[in-house]
């Protein structure tokens, strides 16, 4: 039976696997490709005024990505963050936003890949003795990332050093911009009430 047992020769002809995250976060070099990418961005994010021009504004990108998440368009939010990081990879908080999304999506492979790239880029901040406020904050961030990694992939040796304190893991809320005020309990209460009402009508 062929079903369930793809033959090696067929595997050889399988379409290319998705690029590695590192490769997909590279900007295209060819000018035609850059133009096409710009057209794609302008059309894809038509709801935002000149999105491409604002990719350097961490606060704008985070606000838009949050809106997209709230509109139940996580793919679009992730795309926006990717595209902004392609051009301005130094935006620390966008990396953290993506890490939290990978964590919430329980995508341990993507999380590990993101965590690796993040550490590569930002871990040197924590390399100084007599840590400044910035390096202390970076160290905290790295330990949170490790704790998240341990939570999402407990068997992964990269997070084996994490000491589990038996406490419930608290989400760092990296995907919520500072400028946004949210009252989650109230919003959740309404949602539960609406779902109950919907279930009532569907069950009749």
């Amino acid at each position: 039976m062929a079903i369930n047992e793809p033959m090696q020769s067929l595997l050889d002809h399988a379409p290319p696997a998705p690029r590695s995250l590192r490769a997909s976060l590279q900007m295209p070099v060819d000018s035609n490709a850059v133009r096409l990418r710009d057209r794609y961005i302008a059309t894809r994010f038509v709801r935002f005024a000149e999105p491409g021009a604002s990719f350097s504004s961490t606060e704008d990108v985070m606000g838009w990505a949050r809106q997209l998440l709230d509109d139940e368009q996580p793919r679009l939010a992730i795309e926006l963050l990717h595209l902004a990081l392609q051009e301005y990879p130094e935006q620390n908080r966008l990396w953290l936003f993506l890490l939290e999304l990978a964590f919430l999506g329980e995508d341990s492979v993507l999380f590990a890949e993101l965590a690796g790239l993040y550490k590569e880029r930002f871990s040197n901040v924590s390399g100084h003795d007599g840590a400044s406020e910035a390096s202390s904050s970076a160290l905290t961030t790295l330990s949170i990332i490790d704790a998240m990694g341990h939570d999402i992939a407990p068997q992964d040796p990269r997070y084996a050093h994490v000491r589990h304190k038996g406490e419930k893991f608290m989400l760092p809320n990296w995907s919520i911009p500072d400028s946004v005020e949210r009252d989650e309990p109230r919003q959740k209460k309404l949602h539960r009430a609406l779902v109950e009402a919907m279930m009532f009508h569907l069950s009749r």
Partner: protein
């Protein structure tokens, strides 16, 4: 974007003697084909298919790339393309069972015939849709039969070269079967012709990632196939469902990721085919469409996964516009109400915020004949409306062109598909004439399969109470920030706080940003200011 047939005087394509001559060739071929020799049949049909594709290339490109308005001649040519693909598929199909006896014909030859039958069946499905014809109700049965032949001849996994758009690809019968089924599933009324063409080129590029399994994968949502059910193609799998083959969603999602990544790198995926020349909007619409479909498959919960016990062509009731939907479509539903003292629901007076919880529970009671007169009058005004096709995220309905004249893209529409069940609420995303049927296809994107009718109250300092109509549309996210309310322009402009009571709780809500809007309505994000 749409095929709007404008009548006979417009310059465009025409069915010529050459087209008819090709049809005659197909007819002659059918009479003379040696069906007992599958190798020869496959060879002849492969050449015929190439010759047809070369011949029709200009017509297909013109139909898909041309202007928005199409002539009668264009429509005739589009139908001719669909029917030619149908004829080619039939010829290949008829050669298969003749040779379905083990040892009678070399398996490679049987596989070659089957591959052509399945490849062309996919094209036929696509072009029936593009030319505005109804779906072929026998198509699924034939696809299942072809695959059953392949299984019994043990050629389902044989790797074969197929020629598509003058490119040779290697694939299997299994992948061609899945591609044809996915086209059947996704080619719904809310997917316009150019987008369907793009979608097909993507599916073809993804074919070798389309593997079926005998068991559903525990780690990923799946679609399933019951090959004994001639009315069902690929459907979302839920536990206990009768099915014998499964398609895991994850590989499809990964392929979509890859396509999106190509656009980020400035590459139009897949880089070949008529669709490469289409505007960026068309490609992005396909990404959005697949993303919605995959997300509905992946996140199917009870409220969103209700299947309709109804087939194509069945009559449905339709309500158009915010007022008609609120007043008539949702009339049989009790209202979630404002918290004030004067609103009476189902005969039970709903008290103010201080009233007892038991009285408040009455908002879920059946209202029985509430507003039945309005419901009746609405239905009498309309010609029969029929279901054209349906996917998870959208559906197509067919209505008389006269009735459809009042419907516009972005209108709000509610459908009662299943009598006694909540209406399906959707937004009109496309409108296209169905040629020679005096009817129009309306494509809808589904907003909710259980919209909630609400009477809202403006929260102001004034003593006079002021109510407003609203339709609550819960999102799927548990955090609730995806929940929305549909209100009319006046309510939105008033921009005051509104209150609504649901079961025993009172909520004050602020209207947030507009998520979508159309004539006289806005779908607005809800921001909860108070929950008691």
């Amino acid at each position: 974007m749409e095929f709007t047939f404008a009548g006979g005087n417009q310059a465009g394509l025409e069915l010529t003697r050459a087209h008819r001559s090709f049809t005659d060739q197909l007819f002659a071929l059918e009479q003379n084909l040696d069906k007992k020799n599958p190798g020869k049949v496959a060879d002849v049909l492969q050449r015929m298919l190439r010759s047809f594709e070369d011949f029709s290339q200009h017509d297909r490109e013109k139909l898909l790339q041309g202007s928005l308005t199409h002539s009668e001649g264009d429509a005739a040519v589009a139908e001719w393309i669909a029917s030619s693909y149908d004829d080619l598929a039939r010829l290949a199909r008829h050669a298969a069972p003749e040779n379905n006896i083990p040892g009678k014909a070399p398996p490679a030859e049987v596989a070659a015939v089957l591959s052509i039958a399945l490849l062309v069946a996919g094209y036929a499905t696509k072009w029936r849709k593009i030319s505005g014809q109804r779906a072929d109700l026998g198509a699924l049965k034939r696809l299942h039969q072809l695959f059953q032949f392949a299984l019994s001849a043990k050629v389902d996994a044989t790797i074969l070269p197929v020629i598509i758009e003058r490119r040779t690809l290697e694939t299997t019968i299994e992948a061609l079967y899945v591609r044809a089924l996915l086209l059947e599933r996704f080619a719904s009324g809310n997917l316009a012709p150019r987008r369907l063409e793009i979608l097909d080129s993507w599916l073809i590029s993804w074919m070798n990632a389309l593997w079926l399994t005998r068991e559903p994968q525990a780690s990923s949502p799946s679609l399933c196939i019951d090959t004994t059910n001639e009315l069902r193609g690929l459907t979302r799998y839920t536990a206990g469902e009768r099915a014998d083959l499964f398609l895991t969603l994850r590989p499809l999602q990964r392929q979509l990721d890859r396509a999106v990544d190509d656009f980020h790198q400035g590459i139009i995926f897949p880089g070949w085919g008529i669709g490469t020349g289409f505007r960026m909007e068309e490609h992005i619409a396909v990404i959005d469409f697949l993303d919605r479909e995959f997300s509905l498959i992946a996140n199917a919960d009870v409220t969103r996964s209700k299947r309709f016990a109804i087939g194509q062509g069945a009559e449905v009731k339709v309500f158009c516009g915010f007022n008609d939907v609120w007043t008539s479509a949702l009339a049989t539903q009790s209202s979630l109400t404002a918290a004030g003292p004067q609103h009476s629901i189902a005969g039970a007076t709903v008290d103010s915020a201080q009233s007892s919880a038991s009285a408040r529970q009455s908002v879920f009671l059946d209202t029985g004949t509430f507003n039945a007169r309005a419901l009746g009058s609405t239905l009498q005004q309309r010609s029969p409306v029929r279901l054209h096709d349906m996917s998870d995220s959208g559906l197509g309905i067919e209505m008389s062109t006269e009735d459809a004249a009042t419907v516009e893209v972005d209108d709000l529409i509610a459908l009662r598909i299943d009598e006694g069940r909540p209406c399906v609420l959707g937004i009109v995303v496309r409108k296209a004439n169905l040629h020679r049927q005096q009817s129009t296809l309306i494509g809808l994107r589904v907003l909710s399969k259980a919209p909630l009718r609400a009477i809202l109250e403006h929260v102001t300092e004034r003593t006079a109470r002021q109510t407003a109509k609203g339709i609550l549309v819960p999102g799927s996210a548990e955090h609730g920030f995806a929940d929305s309310v549909i209100v009319n322009e006046a309510t939105f402009k008033a921009s005051s706080k509104l209150s609504v009571m649901i079961a025993s709780s009172i909520f004050h809500i602020r209207l947030g940003r507009v998520r979508h809007q159309g004539r006289g309505w806005k779908l607005v994000a809800i921001d909860v200011a108070l929950a008691l």
